[in-house]
Symmetry: C2
Subunit: 451 residues, 2 copies
């Protein structure tokens, strides 16, 4: 089927961007050229690296000819068989990729923001031009997750994906859990170590995870999901107390990207996609994902539970994923064939986050007198939310409790964990509890996932 048997000339590879990831891609492309040629069936020739300022000093491996650096990205993409985009951002990345596709190049991109915002435009262009578009590196760095979801699970039904897909926030939460430090201190430490940007908003507010959630949801449910379909809540409100309470109740707090098949109020099927911090039971495989690692937990009808674990960011890990895609695209150039196209046949509705079924853990400060627990339980019962556990810790064992704010004023703490219920019912229940007379404060409301 279109396999060419004659000796194959080199395939021209263009690289857009030469930052942490790009320079590693260039290094591996050149240093591993013999292996890559053997695996592809043709040599890969790096024909140019587009950068904003070609004269700027930059560390490049010795194997890379600096004359490959060019500021003419538009010209570069039209003289390549495969274009790798690792510059990030929406423009000029989108325009350059579209131009590359129109010129007949296969494209490989790590650009989650672009794909979550406007992936379908790129997928459609690639389909029309009959070229490959691959993007393994856009989700969870080195972890093979795009290919497994698109191809390995193509004969199965994905029920749910729970992903730790942002290494920065996982590092921050892990530091808080293991050292007891505050959110601000943990972010500062992540910045010092290069895990977090000077402006950490995209990570800590969940935007990065939301983009990845949209991409994964699209693949898993054969439905277009864009960034704006993703309900998003970051980790900025997570306190050291929350983390300590989580531990005391056998959980760890993780920022999860969740995409799941749900049933709407009208009984119809749909997809819920959301990013929020959640309590994960310690026995769940995701609970053990430490530091800046990523992991994606997949529940499928036939396969059951799967987990994919590894480094979600960094130059080399991301470059590994990029080069795997480059080899796939290059093999198609040599042997014929084409990778998977966008699959949207299911076209499921995106249901609001309020449709999701979840569990809550609610902490509240109440007057320390008899009958309060009964009053709170009554509210839950009246809303049809069933209680899994109520804990009323002694003052000594309550994280964050000390004599100054509690002892004198007669405040008690309650920790209520619910059974699964619709998000909307849970939210309404919390509102109803908050206005009870003996309730002084709803200290925190966290979802429990992965039980």
């Amino acid at each position: 089927m279109g396999a060419s048997q004659q000796e194959q000339g080199p395939l021209r590879v263009a690289l857009l961007g030469c930052g942490v990831v790009g320079s590693e891609v260039a290094r591996l492309l050149t240093q591993q050229s013999a292996d890559l040629a053997s695996r592809v069936g043709a040599p890969l020739e790096l024909v140019g690296i587009a950068v904003r300022d070609a004269s700027a000093p930059r560390p490049l491996a010795d194997s890379i000819d600096r004359s490959l650096l060019t500021e003419d990205a538009e010209g570069l993409v039209t003289r390549a068989d495969i274009v790798i985009e690792v510059m990030g951002g929406i423009e000029p990345a989108r325009a350059l990729l579209l131009r590359a596709i129109e010129a007949g190049a296969a494209v490989v991109t790590a650009n989650k923001a672009l794909l979550a915002e406007d992936g379908p435009t790129l997928y459609k262009a690639a389909d029309t031009a009959g070229v490959d578009i691959y993007f393994e590196a856009a989700v969870a760095g080195a972890i093979p997750i795009v290919r497994p979801v698109r191809e390995s699970l193509a004969g199965d039904h994905v029920r749910r994906i729970l992903g730790i897909v942002n290494g920065t926030t996982n590092y921050v939460l892990d530091q808080m859990a293991t050292t007891g430090m505050s959110f601000d201190d943990a972010v500062r430490q992540a910045q010092d170590l290069g895990y977090a940007e000077a402006d950490p908003t995209a990570d800590v507010e969940g935007f990065d995870a939301a983009a990845k959630a949209a991409i994964l949801a699209s693949l898993a449910f054969h439905t277009r999901v864009s960034l704006e379909d993703v309900a998003r809540e970051g980790i900025t409100r997570i306190t050291a107390d929350d983390v300590a309470w989580a531990a005391q109740t056998g959980h760890v707090i993780k920022l999860l990207a969740i995409a799941e098949s749900v049933t709407g109020d009208d009984g119809g099927h749909g997809v819920s996609v959301r990013v929020h911090p959640a309590l994960v039971p310690l026995a769940h495989p995701l609970a053990g994902v430490r530091g800046a690692f990523n992991a994606v937990f997949v529940e499928a009808d036939a396969a059951g539970e799967l987990m994919f674990y590894g480094r979600g960011a960094g130059g080399s890990p991301t470059a590994s994923a990029v080069l795997g895609d480059v080899v796939s695209a290059a093999r198609h150039r040599v042997l014929g064939g084409k990778g998977p196209e966008e699959s949207t046949y299911a076209a499921l509705p995106i249901l609001p986050a309020s449709t999701a079924v979840t569990r809550y853990q609610v902490r509240l400060a109440v007057d320390d007198r008899p009958g309060v627990l009964a009053q709170v339980a009554q509210v839950l019962a009246s809303k049809g939310v069933s209680i899994e556990a109520v804990r009323q810790p002694s003052e000594q064992s309550a994280p964050g409790a000390d004599a100054t704010d509690d002892g004198a004023t007669g405040v008690a703490h309650l920790v209520i964990t619910t059974h699964a219920a619709a998000e909307a019912a849970l939210a309404a229940t919390v509102d109803a509890i908050a206005v009870l007379e003996p309730v002084r404060e709803i200290t925190s409301v966290l979802r429990v996932e992965g039980a």
Copy 2:
């Protein structure tokens, strides 16, 4: 590139075998036919299920027409576009797959024993015929590992694979670790639960894991590795004491399939492939793999550490992997192209297990008198093996110790953990320690992996 745009007629799918896996494949093929057709771009039509005895009673989903059952496997494979082999064993599976390939069918097999023994014959036949051969289900059931190693990591260098690829032995070891039960009792329990065969040899002696190790090693190192290249040791000698000692030193015992890039005595590169029980530190991601689950831990130059986790056996999980492959093969029928071929360009030598660098934990019973530890340490030093730790537990804390066998006779226990050294040097060291006068018995020798 060979993509056909006309309306595509159904693709004929033949199924060889209708046991636990086959019946699930048939069920999913028929019950999910609408989804599969959308994902493939053409309907998949199950045209026959070859079984030894078509009249034997068997549970089949209602969606399956029982007239599809046939005893004429040879005839069936010549009237299919895609042949799925889930019958197992070497013959007639090999002959039928070869016949299917010659007849131009793409083949999907879950047959690890056949691939580990004679995969290259099948790969070569498929290559010659220009058809796909896929085998995701042959290694670690539902876990996507073949595709990630072959494709996602195609631009990287795999350094090492450590796999828990046999659910039966993992269940047995996990039961021993969590309940303290003996090996025999744990095997009996696994048999009662259907995790172990009546004759558990293939699992507990590591043959099944060795076949999977051979397949993974071939893919990861682009080198032909067959079952006979795999050094193999089962778990039948693991005692409850070993398991208790492992816990006391911060480890858990797992049966590991290991494939790694090693440097031979002559400085040349090679591959070491082996299966043996090993102590895995509790902090290692593999240590948390419980029950009958499987997991494959991969270390690659650029990607770093990856882990793939899920169900390694069972009807539905294996069927999920089979159907993912069927969709890939079917898409190639519709759109053109072909999956990866056997890649053996590296042709690395298979180095003997003695070349591997590993760590040992040696337990020994010695006369309880001064100077013994020094004598043992002297032997290690003379062999160039450096000691990480020596533990000389009190009798009370020594698992398995009781007054009857120890107290009266003046026996002490030593647990020596070495630093990494060549397997050959370690083995020679153990031999030298065993003949020391105050050494009564080498109680156990276990490798430590994943540190």
